[in-house]
Symmetry: C2
Subunit: 618 residues, 2 copies
């Protein structure tokens, strides 16, 4: 059956050997594609004691059944590997052009393994695949390096994914940048590429895109666009204000952290919000992702002054990171910080968190002016933020300490710094406060890549049908009971979305039933909502098992002490999530042992019998 | 107030210094006495890195408000220390005469600390307390050594608690024996006495016994005896057949393990049951404990043959241990095994478990005839059982390996022996099968001293009133939901019973409301059922914190693989407890984090704020 003839490209960077493999049909049936497919391959292929920056780590880039055509938000791909920031599972997705071109070139996945002696980039042009010399662009920042590659290829319609100096320097906060504007964020995939001396991946494909049931496929695309446009979030809020729409609204619910998660009543929120951006620097020609009707990306222009620029505007997370977290209400400086991070190829959440952490350490005297080499890390000092970003990108001085992430930085600094290093499993928290929505705490504590808002963040997803029938009920933000069950469901859905691969924002308007119909039309395989959720659960548990093998237990499933103490001021002062009750309920729903391993029974139910011997030696 | 003027004796064995201290009134109000009082003292006094057999370990013997008079089953005392078998909290109780005499001598507790250079015994004669030379009895078995001490004291009405050769040899299965017939079992308290060179404790007291409200006290005693006599278990079954009554009934429900927890259809059960004993060796003058109307102890006589004896009969656990566990249906040899263990001063559950474990290893070729020095460890060989008990008691050859407990023995033997070493946290399982009653699994997994049937075993205790009102509902044995909640309640009740200090069998007939009335009459302090349960919960959580400090996490709260696989044959074949679901429910009820620590909130609620800094460093 056509839907299941899928090809994986395997690139051995040590030997330069490139092979094409058929993907086993059962992998596609059980794991969908994207994140799921990567999980199945890498669970087998990455040894449980591998060094994230050593030759045993592998990178899997993969797409799914919904990519390559006109399905809304289907311009996304998944990248997975062992994370150098957390030491556990990483998957991260990005839009850009890669998903489209990879599929049109005839591939569903690439596994890159080994280590190249010299810098190279991978070139895929339909059936022609080769490693090319990248020594001339090694060391260059993103924009000029991309231009140089396009000039060499003579094809600037191709997709390009690339690391900047941060990835080359093996910084655990290094991202992979895609066609300048889009990012594989969180967890340091850029450093893994850097460790392999792989500067970039260029893909161009123009083969036919085919689905199993073309008529149904067209109808489903039409219907899904209609639903996305009809929903207030994906039809109005996001198109009008981008992701920063939430900053205006969410700080009123206590969701937006300020001053390294300390205070809840900062008065600068409105100065850096989506509406503020719309009134100042926003240009009215957004850059939508491939096949996306939502258009949340922002194109901004600063016409004069030291931050003069035109290009990608900051997302919500970046606004919170270099804004409220550092008490900086200068919107233009946040745009500049975003540009800098993009040029070095760095994760804006982790970099901003590290700087906010450093500002608190500076205030407390744990970091001195001598350590900073004169940078005045007082709260709100935007010049200091920008200077420190450069230091992190270059791994210079204190920048090298902070660039390892707040977990390691706090260990290195000592003197009580661990009390305000805010991470889960080494991953800095994204900027949704678990004290505002208790369910966020469960998500952060149990997400497979550490604290994460893209593997099950709940937001307003109450339109989801649930297995028992009906829709998922909204539970008040400070209610405890029910949050474990809710989180499990939403994580399974998110996992499917990362495997399909489409955008998490589709969850506002499109149900798992709809997802089942779309997968059926694409593959010809009969999918329904139940099967979709089962696949999500299977993939999620396999990722968990990957992490259990790396030593993760229930003791790692928790929030940092800072967010288990009350925020000062603001609407949620005094609210502390009862993590024990929520997590234990979550474990029951998941069928996990109290030590955090999926039970033998659950593994059997999900067809993950091959995992049992790895997790249970007794 | 008279009820709260209580004295603790502190005996420093290193210096020989003996002091008397007033027990703080709040300790008695918050921790009752017995196990609770010991927990409060030892949490503070035993360093978290202490070696169980080193000078930093301490032994606390304590009684409670109900001891010293005629309250039914009040002849029990509690002994606590760090266990050399498990490395965590130990408390164990015993009847005998100590509780009565200690109280009548004017003390509620003794703490023994340090290490004596030469063997000594502690003599308490009302106000006169001294350490006496025990070099002449060091090395002697229990019966002759006790006779020698009584002869020296000239008072054979005194209480005497003593270790045998096993304790002197620091065997982690060594018990403390009380007036020959009664035992402080489980966890190796005898070895801790041995490590301190403390052979025995002799106590005689004849001072007045006083309670706060004498009239109420008398009425309560009358009422409680009536209730105990009216209940089928404490009024009929236990008086008629002793604890072995359950062997006849329980093997039909799959509760009695056979062949090291492998099979469920052994045909020897009825030959070693209580009714079989009643028809053969039982003598109709049982030896009741002090003030006990239940009379479960057995006096037996074997009139001829190699096992000829007259004395204490084996309890249920001993019958299962040297009977069904080893496939031995020779009742007289089990009596002989019991006598041998009592003479060496050893725990019959752990010794029998270790021998059954060795029999399986022998069958599998992991232990050879060379290892056993010719003892033929085939299943059911009663001569081999008796020979191996002697080897364990003397720590000779293979006996030294087995005597360390099955956890360490399996580690030492290797070759897959860990697959059938049946323990929780190093404590061999007592003989109630979690596959017959799923709730037993939760109790074993979470009991503060490792697998235990005396810190919350449920049995038939459905007469207990619950905080929400009404009685505790019976839940079918193979039901999963509700078992976490049930176990939490029963553990808190058991903890109170161990602190009062009375016999667990009273739970069949007497409620926590009754306990509140009894405590009020004894102390004058207003107690009720709610306050009683709160005290139980407080003590239980403090014991947990003690264990958390020793490194215990949720990963240690589980059952061994052997009892998570199906038993072969019998009424419960194919039944496997779903530990994850039950334990997570249990954690929710307890207010524990998923990593197994009591939450900060729970500790605060219980007035255990002083613990928070020890458990939460972040």
């Amino acid at each position: 059956m056509k839907g299941y003839t899928r090809v994986l490209l395997r690139v051995d960077l040590t030997t330069g050997k490139i092979t094409k493999e058929s993907i086993p049909e059962e992998y596609l049936k059980d794991y969908i594609g994207g994140s799921g497919l990567a999980t199945r391959y890498l669970y087998d292929e990455i040894p449980s004691d591998a060094d994230p920056l050593g030759p045993d780590n592998k990178i899997c880039i993969s797409v799914g059944p919904l990519n390559g055509g006109a399905y809304p938000t289907s311009g996304r791909f998944n990248l997975s590997c062992l994370s150098p920031l957390t030491g556990i599972w990483l998957d991260a997705s990005s839009s850009g052009k890669l998903a489209y071109h990879l599929k049109k070139a005839g591939y569903d996945a690439i596994i890159m393994e080994g280590v190249s002696k010299e810098p190279v980039y991978l070139s895929i042009y339909n059936g022609e695949v080769e490693l090319r010399d990248a020594s001339k662009i090694w060391g260059m920042k993103i924009a000029p390096a991309m231009e140089a590659v396009f000039a060499q290829c003579g094809n600037n319609r191709a997709s390009i994914s690339m690391i900047g100096p941060a990835g080359e320097h093996l910084l655990p906060m290094a991202n992979v940048m895609n066609n300048k504007r889009r990012t594989v964020g969180r967890g340091g995939a850029g450093a893994v590429m850097g460790s392999k001396k792989l500067k970039a991946i260029v893909v161009y494909g123009d083969r036919d895109f085919e689905v199993a049931e073309p008529e149904e496929w067209k109808a489903i695309i039409k219907e899904s666009i209609k639903k996305l446009q009809a929903h207030p979030a994906t039809g109005q809020g996001l198109p009008a204000y981008g992701t920063s729409v939430v900053l205006a609204r969410q700080h009123e619910s206590g969701d937006v952290p300020a001053k390294n998660w300390q205070i809840g009543d900062w008065d600068g929120y409105m100065k850096i919000s989506g509406p503020a951006m719309a009134q100042t620097i926003l240009v009215k020609h957004p850059n939508p992702c491939h096949a996306c009707p939502i258009h949340c990306a922002r194109h901004v222009e600063i016409k004069e002054g030291e931050y003069k620029m035109a290009g990608e505007g900051p997302e919500y997370e970046t606004l919170a990171s270099f804004g409220s977290m550092c008490l900086n209400d200068d919107l233009e400086s946040i745009v500049a910080a975003n540009v800098l991070c993009n040029e070095y190829g760095m994760d804006t959440i982790s970099v901003g968190s590290a700087i906010a952490f450093a500002m608190e350490a500076y205030e407390k005297g744990i970091i001195t002016a001598e350590d900073t080499e004169g940078i005045d890390l007082t709260w709100g000092n935007e010049k200091a933020i920008l200077a420190m970003i450069e230091k992190i990108g270059n791994r210079e001085g204190l920048g090298d300490v902070l660039g390892q992430g707040v977990r390691k930085a706090a260990q290195q600094l000592g003197k009580g710094a661990e009390e305000f290093s805010v991470h889960v499993k080494g991953m800095e928290l994204p900027y949704h406060d678990p004290r505002a929505f208790f369910e966020t705490g469960v998500t952060y504590a149990t997400s497979p890549r550490g604290a994460c808002h893209l593997h099950g963040h709940i937001g307003s997803w109450h339109a989801q049908p649930i297995p028992e029938g009906g829709l998922m009920a909204a539970i008040p933000p400070h209610e405890t009971r029910g949050k474990g069950k809710m989180t499990k469901l939403v994580q399974d859905i998110s996992t499917v979305v990362n495997s399909a691969v489409v955008c998490q924002f589709t969850n506002f308007a499109l149900s798992v039933t709809h997802m089942g119909e779309a997968l059926t039309a694409a593959t010809g395989e009969p999918w329904d909502g139940k099967k979709v959720l089962e696949a999500g659960e299977r993939i999620f548990n396999l990722q968990r098992a990957f992490n259990n093998r790396r030593g993760i237990t229930s003791a790692d499933d928790n929030l940092p002490g800072r967010v288990l103490a009350s925020v000062k001021g603001g609407p949620v002062e005094g609210k502390i999530p009862d993590m024990g009750t929520m997590l234990n309920e979550y474990y029951i729903e998941r069928g996990w042992e109290t030590d955090g391993r999926p039970s033998r029974k659950k593994l059997q139910e999900l067809g993950l019998d091959f995992v049992i011997g790895d997790l249970y030696q007794d």
